[in-house]
């Protein structure tokens, strides 16, 4: 029972991550119709916002380490600690949550630049060309990050206070062994908040209404004299911010490296398509569905019956869903079907 409860939590947590990554992609891919292979790179850039912020915050005074004689080695003492003492240490400790503040404007800017500088010229080009140009862009972004930060993962821990695990079992009067890391719970809550915010934005604001209308029928909305293009630029910016935030918040769970975006790229496309093209709710639903199924498929009891099922479950589910539902879970007709 505990095991199942924990797997549900794992599933939700994974699902939250998948949904968050897929959300931005489906905004761009499912609705603007741009096959954006650079979406993973946006996720990665978000994660590196946290890394960069950490580097800035821990900018250190170098004190020569006399104990090492083979070469010049330095101990590093962050200036923040030198200047502010305890407060400085705390600020460094809180670097991941704080870097959200940095990530929002930075990612928005990156999104806008990307759309205005490149993507806008590709709305009318073939999907094949969109793939090539965004894939090229993704590689270039990756390589730039690699040249600055190396290829090795960089530890970006959560604040000390939430680094451990919450004893949920005790909280709900269940067994003591139901513990779950605070940060993963925070991530889940964060995912819900961001997803909710994006939905609310599209549902309840005039801007969102126009965007939704534009997604459904771009031509008509343009004929109404509304500048859809400009709104789409902003949608792209929002997608970049969502992807970036997903990246920032994921860093304590997965120490980021330059390749982390590529690792998530295929998965995020699968989630979006299983959810159904052009459907935000579908992408979110598919994210959680795949997350939970993946967690359960990894249980020893299941693996004993189907060896290796955890290796393929995501793709197996994708095949089953796409064969039983022609447009994924909640896809709209005619979007990216040709």
């Amino acid at each position: 029972m505990d095991a199942i409860l924990l797997q549900i939590l794992n599933g939700l947590d994974k699902g939250g991550a998948y949904a968050l990554i897929a959300l931005g992609l489906t905004l761009v891919f499912g609705t603007l119709g741009v096959v954006n292979f650079a979406h993973g790179a946006l996720f990665m850039l978000g994660a590196f916002c946290a890394v960069t912020f950490q580097k800035i915050m821990t900018f250190s005074k170098q004190v020569k380490d006399e104990s090492i004689t083979f070469f010049d080695a330095y101990k590093e003492i962050p200036y923040l600690e030198i200047w502010f003492g305890e407060t400085g240490t705390m600020l460094i400790d809180w670097v991941v949550p704080l870097s959200i503040l940095l990530a929002i404007p930075v990612m928005l800017l990156i999104g806008l630049i990307m759309e205005r500088g490149l993507i806008q010229y590709f709305y009318k080009r073939s999907h094949a060309e969109q793939i090539l140009v965004t894939f090229g862009l993704a590689i270039v972004i990756q390589e730039i990050i690699k040249s600055f930060f190396g290829a090795n993962p960089i530890p970006t821990p959560a604040p000390e206070i939430v680094a451990g695990s919450a004893n949920i079992g005790a909280l709900f009067g269940l067994s003591d062994s139901v513990v779950y890391p605070y940060w993963r719970l925070i991530y889940l809550a964060f995912a819900f908040v961001v997803i909710g915010a994006v939905f609310a934005f599209l549902q309840f604001t005039t801007f969102g209404m126009v965007v939704r209308a534009g997604m459904a029928d771009r031509e008509t909305v343009s004929l109404l004299g509304i500048n859809v293009e400009r709104r789409f630029t902003i949608v792209f910016g929002i997608a970049a911010v969502v992807a970036g935030l997903a990246g920032v918040m994921y860093t304590p769970i997965l120490p980021p490296d330059y390749h982390i975006g590529m690792d998530f790229l295929v998965l995020s496309f699968v989630v979006v398509v299983v959810g159904g093209m052009g459907s935000l709710a579908g992408a979110v639903a598919a994210g959680f569905l795949l997350g939970i199924l993946q967690s359960f498929a990894s249980m020893n009891e299941i693996k004993a019956i189907f060896p290796g099922i955890d290796q393929i479950i995501i793709y197996l589910v994708a095949v089953v869903i796409l064969l039983t539902r022609p447009r994924g879970l909640l896809g709209r007709k005619g979007v990216m079907e040709d």
């Binding site: 096959v35 010229y121 080009r125 073939s126 999907h127 094949a128 060309e129 793939i131 090539l132 140009v133 894939f135 090229g136 862009l137 993704a138 590689i139 270039v140 990756q142 390589e143 730039i144 040249s147 295929v266 496309f269 699968v270 398509v273 299983v274 093209m277 060896p307 290796g308 290796q311 393929i312 793709y315 197996l316 994708a318 095949v319 796409l322 064969l323 022609p326 447009r327 994924g328 990216m336 079907e337 040709d338």
Partner: protein, 377 residues
């Protein structure tokens, strides 16, 4: 013979292609690409891309899992080497056929959907195959290490005909070892045949119908065509090309690894095709040349090689050039590749062939319309 018939322009194209491929060891010498392994890779990936283009270029169905057939072709070939004979003929035939068989199954299922849904289905099949081959199917695939030919494999046919293998077993074509240059020429001949078949398909009513399906599949149905079998045939043919390419990889180097089926490998052939020009005849070959060249040559530059290269310059300039070029070569070769993708697609819409054709046409604005029915070369 009727089966070899081609229009005059196509005959020139075909001859030009064959000569260019066969003479690669000569004209690639100045750019440092004329060594057997890379030449083999050019031919093999050219074949892969040309086959992929029959599906993607003609029907517009973008498969994101074609590497699975590459893998199946390789594994089957190595198994044929192990069980039957080191002769490459049965190995290539089996590899191609089994890939075709898998293509029938995967194609039949995936073609029930169109557009991105189709792409994700093919991707899913390939990723499942890759993941399983890497882990639980290790008894068949030898997992991470890759399936290899061993000296004490049974090789029933070789035993029957008394062929004795000395040293490490190497694929042979009736006694000619398929490594080094003979291996390249074998691949080159297969490639040229593959190109010829592709050319004929492009020029056939079958090809025209496939193009029409790409253009407007619904209309094809109301025009009286059952489009599904057409698509399936295109899928299977291109799957067999991939299987054959996989076979050739194992022929020239008797090892089959699971990575060959990973999505990055499927993505590579997509990129090759788009880079060269989707739906053009020689575009995919050019794309394959370009990507493989960058992968093998640009990654090999290191700082000392760069200094050698620029040593004719004054030392200040030499150092400057090395500093400028260095990020793009060696461990930075991906950067060059990414930049190349972007530059080509931005400045040459439609890929290399189409982009250059357009530029050419714009210059002499009185473009003569194609006399040949069927897509342009």
């Amino acid at each position: 013979m009727k089966i070899f018939k081609l229009s005059r322009n196509d005959t020139i194209l075909m001859l030009g292609f064959a000569i260019a491929i066969l003479l690669m060891p000569i004209w690639l010498q100045p750019i440092g690409a004329a060594y057997p392994d890379l030449l083999q890779k050019f031919a093999i990936f050219g074949l892969f891309a040309i086959g992929f283009n029959i599906l993607f270029g003609l029907t517009g169905y973008l498969s994101f899992g074609h590497a699975v057939f590459l893998g199946i072709g390789s594994y089957t070939t190595v198994w044929t080497f192990k069980l039957l004979s080191m002769n490459v003929v049965p190995a290539v035939i089996f590899g191609t056929l089994l890939a075709g068989l898998f293509a029938v199954v995967i194609g039949y299922v995936s073609l029930r959907r169109t557009g991105i849904y189709f792409s994700i289905l093919t991707l899913a099949f390939a990723q499942m195959s890759y993941n399983l081959a890497y882990s639980v199917l290790t008894p068949i695939t030898n997992g991470e290490t890759g399936l290899r030919v061993l000296r004490d494999d049974p090789r029933v046919l070789d035993g029957l005909f008394g062929v004795v293998q000395e040293g490490s077993p190497v694929g042979n074509f009736f006694g000619i070892n398929m490594q080094g240059y003979p291996g390249f020429y074998f691949c080159a001949v297969v490639l040229i045949i593959g190109f010829f078949i592709s050319l004929r398909i492009f020029r056939s009513p079958f090809g025209l119908k496939l193009t029409a399906i790409k253009s407007n599949q619904n209309r094809m149905r109301y025009t009286g065509f059952n489009t599904r079998p057409y698509l399936l045939w295109a899928f299977v043919i291109s799957g067999m090309y991939a299987g054959m390419a996989g076979s050739l990889m194992a022929v020239t180097d008797p090892l089959a690894g699971a990575e060959r089926m990973q999505w990055t490998a499927s993505g590579e052939v997509v990129l090759m095709t788009i880079l060269g020009g989707v739906g053009t005849l020689i575009g995919p070959m050019l794309g394959a040349l370009l990507i493989k060249y960058f992968e093998n040559i640009f990654s090999a530059f290191n700082e000392s090689a760069l200094h050698d290269m620029f040593s004719f310059l004054p030392s200040l300039l030499e150092n400057l050039m090395v500093t400028v070029v260095h990020p793009f070569v060696g461990d930075g070769w991906h950067l060059t590749l990414g930049t190349l993708f972007m530059v080509i697609v931005i400045f040459l819409p439609g890929g290399l062939v189409e982009g250059v054709t357009r530029l050419f046409k714009r210059r002499k604005s009185d473009g003569v319309s194609a006399k040949n029915p069927g897509p342009e070369s």
